[in-house]
């Protein structure tokens, strides 16, 4: 079931936006024609493979590749010596600045291997078999070092130190010695001591979550070719071809213009493809061998060497008065960053209390390096983790106060005009409308069965805008092509075509959306942060508006009137000049057919830096059934309501919401990186790393709440991040309701749940 609740003010006459046309990528995907990263090949290409550290922490004493180089069929071997030794420098390349030294060291270890799976060398050979044989012949001498994988162990005094140069930032004064704590984040308001003292009820709990992977089906893959003149070509699956271009140029010391990157169809990213792993290595191998080089990760490599998101330890303390008013909150977050600084704990600190209007709180976050893969973004980075803790705590407050879980959230809800806990004053938000949508749903009123429990949780994400470029070209038959620089990871081709069609007055079937390589369209930030439909969509609409302006100008010339006397409506120029009543409308087809005679082709390109992205809120309701004999938890009903601004293509938006829920349910129930005592990942494959499949889940119902964002031409807000924020807590709260025991440690696997039930009974 799905429904859309539209705020009356958003109502407008729209012919395309808000409809559900067939998706433009559908036919290629269901017929197998879509070309993913691993599907691309070049004549004469070699196979590239990476040798990875078997140790969680080790000094690389020496690398002897002599025997590997001598193996017939081996064309190149590269190590860190083949890459520039970069200085520490923050550089804008993806969504945010990255430290180029850390990026380079993650691509290829230099001096030390910092996690099991860290790349230490790579080969290019004529076949996979030869490449594998060559890897076995490379002799790496390691000095194994003590390692640390758990976040609190890494923070402890005397913990094995990953980086001798790492001094904690964000403290009042620079610490005297290096540590694994990269940064402290802190935010406060009011007086929590006084507020806790005034509370009638206080809840306090330690919560933990484990590192989990984005779990995209398509592994990282690329083909790279370094020509004799230094010009480079890369074909790869990523969330941003411009990001790949920038990072490859920096890691290899090349000019941006030397490198052209063509995006492949992407088989999932969810934030995990917002950085580079293979591409610079493939380029280095191509330079060394003189051949194109293709690299495709195995699933084992994806798990061991690409970014999961953080595992965490969190403490949450809440105080409330008897009427449910939350008087004080104290939140402390400790997040694994992996081998290099940069966990999403900063964003977690900002989102932690964003749904609540609070006068007194402190939030402290710690970014901690560990001997685990460097974390990468994962939908709403950091927010699901902290929402698990905070929403569990609010649920506990409601239980202790005997309050309805929606009532306690409505009582403390942020509204337009509320100063958010992270600072800004909210405008045009649809949070209380989203709470009301769940309160009024059939699901909320439905009875529960035996061994079942119901949980509710809410979530927030900022959404962003940023730099985007789009072009609209009109063909001589009046059809249109929309070109952008953003890989389509969640339906952006459909939304771009629809917004262009709406603006031009064309049927959407006459608009073809395309994603261009880095030499064929202006710069766009990567696809992520729920920014593409908002920001790139804004560029598309502005480009289409420029096309319409040109069409009106040409019609005015034909009619010998002013452009003000020409309106564009329904894909036609209409003459408003009362002195020319005989002028019949000119269609886009008619104007396009004569474009050569009227000044040339009709097209426009717009580049912009979109500001004013509207934040999103979600409210999720989950029913679970717990097997009393095994502890197995089944989600039996789930409804997710979300403020989406305006759903450009509602079916895609529903899909985004359902996808986020499915991933969140997996995070809550089953998924976790498991390390052995040597710091090696024990479950680097889908057989042992259990993600939900379709048969694990019921139909996930959605309610789209439309409170429009006035800064977008059609009112759109980003939708891809919010839906993964509430599920962890919604599931955990439902399990608590079913078994009567608070579940503070994820995942809620059957043994964990069974043990909790045993404790309750014992």
């Amino acid at each position: 079931m799905s429904e859309t609740l539209e705020k009356p003010a958003a109502a407008a006459v729209l012919n395309v936006v808000g409809t559900r046309p067939i998706r433009p990528d559908g036919a290629d995907k269901v017929t197998g024609r879509a070309t993913y990263g691993a599907d691309f090949n070049m004549p004469g290409q070699l196979v590239g493979k990476i040798l990875r550290s078997p140790h969680a922490h080790a000094r690389i004493v020496s690398i002897d590749a002599g025997k590997a180089r001598g193996l017939p069929g081996v064309k190149a071997v590269v190590t860190a010596a083949d890459f520039p030794d970069l200085a520490s420098e923050m550089h804008e390349g993806g969504e945010q600045a990255s430290n180029l030294r850390d990026l380079s060291l993650n691509v290829m270890a230099r001096g030390k291997a910092l996690y099991d799976g860290h790349a230490v060398a790579a080969v290019a050979a004529v076949s996979t078999e030869v490449a594998d044989a060559a890897l076995a012949l490379i002799k790496v001498t390691y000095e194994v070092l003590p390692h640390v994988t758990e976040v609190e162990d890494a923070m402890a005094s005397g913990a094995p130190l990953l980086h001798a140069h790492l001094f904690t930032e964000g403290l009042p004064a620079k610490p005297a010695s290096a540590s694994n704590i990269a940064r402290r984040h802190y935010n406060e308001r009011g007086d929590i001591a006084q507020a806790f003292a005034a509370a009638d009820v206080v809840v306090e709990q330690r919560y933990t979550t484990q590192a989990v992977h984005q779990g995209y089906i398509e592994p990282h893959a690329c083909v790279a070719a370094w020509a004799e003149d230094g010009r480079c070509e890369v074909w790869s699956s990523s969330q941003g071809q411009f990001m790949v271009r920038t990072y490859c140029a920096k890691v290899l010391g090349r000019e941006i213009s030397d490198i052209r990157v063509t995006p492949a169809e992407i088989g999932g990213g969810f934030g995990g493809k917002t950085t580079v792993y293979l591409e610079p290595v493939a380029l280095a191998l191509s330079r060394a061998s003189g051949h194109p080089v293709k690299m495709v990760m195995s699933r084992d490599e994806v798990f061991r060497a690409t970014g999961p998101t953080s595992g965490s330890v969190m403490h949450v303390k809440l105080g409330a008065t008897a009427d449910g008013t939350i008087t004080a909150a104290k939140v402390e977050l400790k997040f694994q960053a992996g081998a290099f600084p940069g966990s999403p704990v900063g964003a977690a600190c900002m989102t932690a209390l964003a749904c609540y209007d609070l006068a007194n709180f402190t939030i402290t976050g710690w970014d901690v390096v560990t001997n685990t893969p460097k974390v990468a973004a994962y939908r709403a980075p950091g927010a699901p983790i902290v929402a698990f803790a905070v929403e569990s705590a609010v649920d506990e407050l409601a239980v202790k106060l005997g309050m309805d879980p929606i009532a306690i959230r409505e009582k403390n809800a942020v509204h337009n005009g509320t100063k958010a806990a992270y600072g800004p004053t909210f405008q045009n938000i649809g949070y209380v409308e989203t709470l009301a949508a769940i309160r009024d749903s059939d699901h909320y009123k439905a009875p529960l069965g035996r061994n079942q429990g119901r949980g509710l949780a809410v979530g927030f994400w900022f959404n962003i805008g940023g730099e985007s470029t789009a072009a609209v070209h009109i063909g001589e038959d009046g059809s249109a092509v929309v070109v952008t620089g953003n890989p389509d990871i969640g339906g952006s081709r459909a939304s771009m075509a629809m917004m262009a069609a709406e603006t031009l007055g064309l049927p959407v079937e006459r608009v073809r959306p395309m994603i261009a390589d880095t030499a064929s369209i202006g710069y766009s930030m990567l696809t992520g942060g729920s920014r593409t439909t908002f920001a790139t969509g804004m560029a598309v609409v502005q480009a289409a508006e420029q096309v319409v302006a040109e069409l009106r100008k040409r019609a005015a010339k034909l009619w010998e009137t002013t452009v003000e006397q020409v309106e564009w409506k329904g894909g036609q120029a209409r003459c408003l000049d009362p002195a020319k009543p005989d002028k019949k409308p000119l269609t886009l087809e008619a104007l396009a057919a004569q474009s050569g005679r009227m000044g040339g082709p009709i097209s426009a390109q717009v580049s912009l830096n979109a500001q004013g992205a509207g934040p999103g809120f979600g409210v999720h309701l989950c029913d679970v059934e717990v097997d009393p004999d095994t502890g197995r938890v089944d989600v039996v009903r789930y409804t997710a309501a979300q403020d989406v601004g305006k759903a450009i293509h509602p079916a895609y938006v529903e899909g985004q919401v359902q996808g986020g829920v499915a991933q969140g349910v997996g995070w809550a129930l089953n998924e976790a990186y498991i390390f052995d005592r040597d710091g090696k990942m024990e479950n680097a494959g889908f057989l042992d790393y259990r993600m939900p499949v379709a048969s694990d889940l019921p139909m996930l119902d959605t309610i789209l709440v439309e409170v429009p964002n006035p800064r977008h031409p059609f009112g759109a807000k980003g939708v891809g991040e919010v839906p993964i924020v509430p599920p962890l807590a919604a599931v955990a709260n439902a399990v608590r309701a079913a078994i009567g025991v608070r579940m503070p440690d994820l995942p809620l696997s059957p043994p964990v749940v069974l043990a909790a039930m045993d404790r309750r009974q014992g």
């Binding site: 600045a97 802190y186 969810f270 964003a347 900002m350 800004p424 500001q611 980003g718």
Partner: protein, 81 residues
Amino acid sequence: MAHVVAGSDCWPFTGGVSAFDVEAATVRELIGALDARFPGLGDFIDRKMAFAIDGEIHQDAWFSPIGPDSEVYLIPKIGGG
């Protein structure tokens, strides 16, 4: 004058001061004015912070306007997945 609020990330530059009034008509002018008052802060906030102007977040946008009575929150730049 715009009222500016800076979080803990900025405190090493401001000596712990978290709120101040600044004469600035754009984000770029604000960056310059804050750097003049707290040396080093301008470069820091230009690289690492977003500007929530009257509730609307502006990121990497030097010429976004700031009103004479605007409230500007400096918050860490936001990304996503």
